[in-house]
Point group: C2
Chain length 245, copies 2
């Protein structure tokens, strides 16, 4: 583990533990440098991690302040429903309800960077949190990964982890579009809600380390079951608002 990662971890722990209250000032770079016996540049790198996580605010000339105290999730925890559930102390379940190959639509082709009509694997999964159905996942996999997906256990808990262990595939980058939609007939039946009731929709595209698109998915959460959280600032911004359609 890199030096700056270690320092960032120590500081993050201290903040989460409450050693530094929200609104409190962090020690100066010079003090942190001497405390951890590192160069100032290394300390800056460590603090930059916390700033990008939204835990710490910084502006030139003034001491850094603590903005939040919640541990942020790793990419894996965010991407994998099962890993996320485990990390927040819940039990995830899952079941494949349908899995079939078909030609890709034009919008899928764009998102997966393939030619329209090229074969893809469409999978419908129902996900449970502590037994309760909370999420309908409609995922489309590029054809080159389809065979590995088809070999998975239909009740497989973590697809991400399984794909890593069987074929060494790691998901590295993701794009997420978040909006609200009304439950369709199938959504309503699977989630046990009325048709037209609100669902939180997350459309995502995931790519491998090399930047090759692996899957795109339309995930619909039952209202109240899940919330997305983002911290941003003038110096670190990742949330973007877009007009519909």
């Amino acid at each position: 583990m890199a030096r700056y990662e270690h320092i960032a971890g120590e500081l993050r722990d201290a903040i989460v533990r409450g050693d530094y209250q929200i609104g409190a000032q962090l020690p100066t770079e010079a003090e942190l440098a001497s405390r951890f016996n590192a160069a100032r540049g290394t300390v800056r790198q460590a603090v930059a991690v916390l700033v990008s996580e939204g835990l710490v605010g910084t502006r030139q000339g003034a001491r850094r302040i603590v903005l939040g105290s919640e541990r942020s999730q790793s990419f894996a925890e965010l991407h994998s429903f099962a890993q996320w559930a485990r990390s927040v102390g819940h039990r995830a379940g899952g079941l494949v309800l349908d899995s079939r190959r078909r030609p890709s639509t034009s919008s899928e082709a764009v998102r997966l960077a393939i030619t329209p009509g090229e074969e893809v694997l469409a999978v419908l999964r129902l996900r449970r949190l502590d037994g309760e159905p909370v999420l309908v996942e409609r995922t489309v996999y590029a054809s080159w990964i389809a065979p590995a997906v088809e070999k998975l256990d239909p009740a497989c808990e973590s697809v991400t982890q399984e794909l890593y262990e069987t074929v060494g595939l790691v998901f590295a980058y993701g794009e997420h579009l978040i909006d609200a939609v009304a439950a369709g007939a199938e959504d309503a039946r699977l989630l046990g809600v009325r048709r037209g009731s609100p669902l939180l929709r997350q459309r995502r595209t995931t790519t491998s380390q090399e930047g090759r698109p692996v899957e795109c998915s339309d995930d619909r959460y039952r209202a109240g079951s899940v919330t997305f959280s983002i911290r941003n600032s003038t110096t670190a911004n990742s949330l973007v608002r877009r007009a519909g359609d």
Copy 2:
């Protein structure tokens, strides 16, 4: 403007312009350094900006690749409905429907870091995009900023900009919780949708440069009018998923 910001801008422009296609490789650090006549560290800082924006993917040993080509928004554009609307080529409207002082609830007190019961200013605004009502904003302001807010024109387009010009207040940090809810009676009436229809809810808290909470708000978008977008990766993560309630 800093050297690294200039380099980041040049590279971003080149990507947005299409000089580097999605999936293509970026020049090496050494080449960029010589091209811009800068030290390698400066180039790294520039590229780090693009990585944090999700435009570029990077991993040790391999050349960097282009992941996306969309311009990301500034914090101001994200925070201010009016500035965002302008930047994406739409016209924003707004009207204050109600504005009154009242004691804060306990949850508001936590979010604004004040003592429960301390007076706050609650404002109800309806926002339009190109004439269409798309957003109901229920904002609570801390008492120290309330006088300035009360002096604003009820039809004021950009509250953010007005507060900056009148009292020099700048919003610097924000936390956002995003989920889906059913429209209540008031929401439905104002937005012109049926009761119970899906709305995208964004609860946000904004703080000043010094980390002092200024306002917290419950914003509800008509379904289909707005989408939030985030890019993340194993190395840059800001989106967090949370269990409901």
